[in-house]
Symmetry: C2
């Protein structure tokens, strides 16, 4: 993720929003009455918004618009359209691919003030929320009416629901409830010309034309600005059990993950850990060895659903071929202890060194071969590097961390050599270069590895259809032509 | 559904595909070498394809193209594009809104020969199938590797998977597994100019640009022709239980449905029946009264999942406020007996008379008020009519059947007055005029009730972006400008 975007800057066309450093009277947008009272140009306030939270990607912006109603968002976008001003929508600024960072000097459209839950329907199991509402507030609103929201991720206290729609956020429970797109019963959004489209009726069945939630989820603010969403909620967990299962190799772990998904309807997590990662967390965090003998691959499995999960999980684990050893935990303290092997992976790796972090998906059938290849690739080129691999085996989504290689290593134009090597290997094996973080500006140079020229052309035609001036989040998602 | 489309014909622009009756040498497409050997012009064969299966909508076509490989589909569509020939894609021809009927005399593109399962991955829980494969064959292929496909509907033996993608088919298990869109891990499709886009890697997490499955599901063949799909599969059912629950009124039934969804993670159906419909099936099919006293509203509930469902269902039913009486069944014969009250509704209504059939969704909070209003609306205008209402209470999706009113009743241009009245009431109460059948040609005149002019304009821009000549399924989904 230490990609070139932040170092090499925006390569697309320049817009008149690009006035580096601070606002100047020459920006026509700022003279538009529609944005009067909604504009911030104080460099101290802007400073926290023109860079991503990691600090790796730093842009600049002449001004930030801060609407707090849907009508104000529409007015702001319409004013940008009238004045042909490029604008970068921003929610909680917790993204990992610089999708909300104004690297081209664009105006910022901050959605954080458009917050709040407008409707919570316990009978229907739905919420209607404004896009600037944090994920944590959405989760709390769901719990308050006896339901749960199906998506959870580490940035829940800052990430906004609108941002999770724009990036189609995944998180911990995709294996059970699907990604953010799967939670959307309706989306309301402002198109590039300021017109409002979509609905918030929260209907579970509605086949009346092209599906706006399906198109906008994952479009990273390049097609429209999401203002409100209608969300489906999921049945709360009644009982929970966790198991740690020792397996001979990654291929066995993939097969076991398939068998567990096939036999446990309420499976809620299937995480893969490898021997070196487990040894690492024992060293860095003083965790006890989970099994008497170290195991090449370990699955952490959680079942969460109707009562009786611990018996069902125990029976399912016994039914798997090739399990060396296994622990099943029902009580909260034991469950937490098992989860800890997985949860401290990132922190443990950080203690080894600054990591190149890639978030990718492989087809189940290629995951084992990928684990071997990517290690061989990296060590072949950087013999002192270490490759750490863990992730959501139930989704084929693995986190590849590489330590021991300073970034950027080589390549012209500041391209991170590790990222380049890993992403090319992923694509060559039929995988996705971005499982859940999106493309943003950081990965845009590699999108061609996953999308054919025909597909990129089709995406550009869709973009042009809805945003003919190209004012919405230029530089993100679509490579420059 | 006896909508105007079939009687009033196609109102959009005329294309040179429109050569009524039979092929003539003047159709440039037929001279294109790309379609040589793939073309059928025999009127006897065409006759079964130019009308929908109900016989209500009858069109005409000069020729039908029958490709059997992806490359042949691409070649056919490219040839249509070169010759500016309008083309109507057709799968199993089981649709209910004339979405695959050439009412404008278009050429037909039959996908039935592009059939077969290409890949079935038991570890990943995925299938890759060609679009002409029937739903029944998809279900069988899933079962053969120890999984299930999440969508089921009555036309399973004829309906093709491509048709279910085009219409985003729903069916019996939406409350549990979602609609067809939710099953799509990947789609491969031919754009209007013949280029192939999409992928079949079957990845569960992939955020690399605009989401083709999200856009194409429900687009009714107007944006691209689906050639193959990668499908996610679901955990097979291990145990099943069914309950019939007596309630005081529709509002109580809606509240009970919400409570059941909130407490039963493996709820797989929540169907609503009303007193008159239950009395009818006792009369027409000799079924015994389900309860000692007739009940104004009845929920049929099925739970299907991990072992122990009958106890969980029993406990959940006991926990619901206002339940008058209830029966819970675990053994297959008893379960089937309870389902029969629901399953024979359509057949029983058909014995009363030819019904106007509407498939709509209401917000949960308005379902009870809708049930009253629609009855009052219809009886106020046609005092001898009968209004039958039943459906999927878990989704807010109700089937409205009206008997005792010949169609069309009145209105200029042959518009069905019952359909018009019911759909306007649905839209006025925040509902969807098409829950799961789509818009096709039969409902296109009412789409404006659910979509604003801005939304229709945005849809048209998307259509123009991907199909600038307007050759793909003209007259379906989008109203004429």
């Amino acid at each position: 993720m230490n990609a070139g975007g932040g170092r090499t800057g925006h390569r697309g066309p320049r817009f008149n929003g690009r006035v580096p450093g601070r606002a100047t009277p020459s920006l026509p947008l700022l003279a538009d009455p529609a944005v009067a009272g909604l504009t911030v140009t104080d460099p101290d306030i802007l400073a926290g918004h023109v860079r991503d939270w990691t600090g790796r990607h730093v842009g600049s912006s002449p001004a930030m618009l801060r609407p707090s109603t849907v009508a104000e968002v529409a007015a702001c976008v319409a004013a940008c359209h009238r004045t042909a001003t490029a604008v970068v929508p921003q929610g909680g600024n917790t993204g990992l691919v610089a999708g909300a960072t104004p690297l081209g000097g664009e105006v910022l459209l901050h959605l954080g003030r458009l917050a709040g839950v407008e409707d919570a329907d316990a009978d229907a199991g739905t919420l209607v929320v404004r896009s600037g509402t944090t994920l944590a507030d959405v989760q709390a609103a769901a719990r308050a009416i006896g339901w749960e929201y199906g998506v959870d991720l580490a940035a829940r206290d800052s990430a906004t629901i609108g941002g999770t729609v724009a990036t189609n956020a995944g998180g911990l429970h995709v294996v059970r409830h699907g990604d953010t797109r799967a939670q959307l019963l309706g989306v309301e959004a402002v198109l590039a010309d300021g017109t409002l489209v979509g609905d918030l009726r929260g209907l579970r069945k509605d086949n009346t034309g092209y599906h706006l939630p399906g198109l906008l989820a994952g479009s990273e603010g390049t097609l429209a600005v999401v203002t409100r969403v209608a969300l489906r909620l999921v049945t709360p967990v009644q009982d929970r059990a966790v198991a740690l299962i020792a397996l001979d190799d990654v291929a066995s772990a993939v097969r076991a993950a398939g068998a567990l998904r096939r036999s446990l309807p309420d499976l809620s997590a299937v995480e893969l850990l490898l021997a070196d990662g487990l040894a690492l967390v024992q060293r860095t965090h003083g965790l006890a060895p989970p099994f008497a003998d170290p195991s090449p691959a370990v699955l952490l499995v959680e079942v969460a659903g109707a009562p009786g999960v611990v018996d069902r999980l125990g029976a399912a684990v016994e039914g798997i071929d090739g399990v060396g050893d296994a622990v099943v935990a029902a009580d909260p303290a034991r469950r937490a202890a098992l989860w800890r092997y997985r949860e401290v992976q990132t922190e443990a790796i950080a203690r080894v060194g600054v990591a190149h972090k890639l978030d990718v998906t492989l087809p189940a059938a290629r995951l084992a071969a990928f684990a071997e290849s990517v290690r061989a690739d990296v060590l072949g080129r950087w013999p002192d590097a270490a490759v750490w691999l863990f992730g959501h085996a139930g989704d084929g989504n693995v986190h590849v961390n590489v330590t021991g290689v300073p970034a950027p290593v080589d390549g012209e134009d500041g391209v991170d050599g590790v990222d380049d090597l890993v992403l090319r290997r992923v694509a060559a094996m039929g995988g996705s270069i971005s499982a859940e973080h999106g493309i943003g500006r950081a990965k845009v140079r590699w999108l061609h590895l996953n999308r054919t020229p025909s597909e990129l052309a089709a995406m550009r035609r869709l973009k042009l259809a809805l945003d003919p001036l190209g004012i919405l989040n230029p530089g993100a998602l679509l490579p420059p032509t």
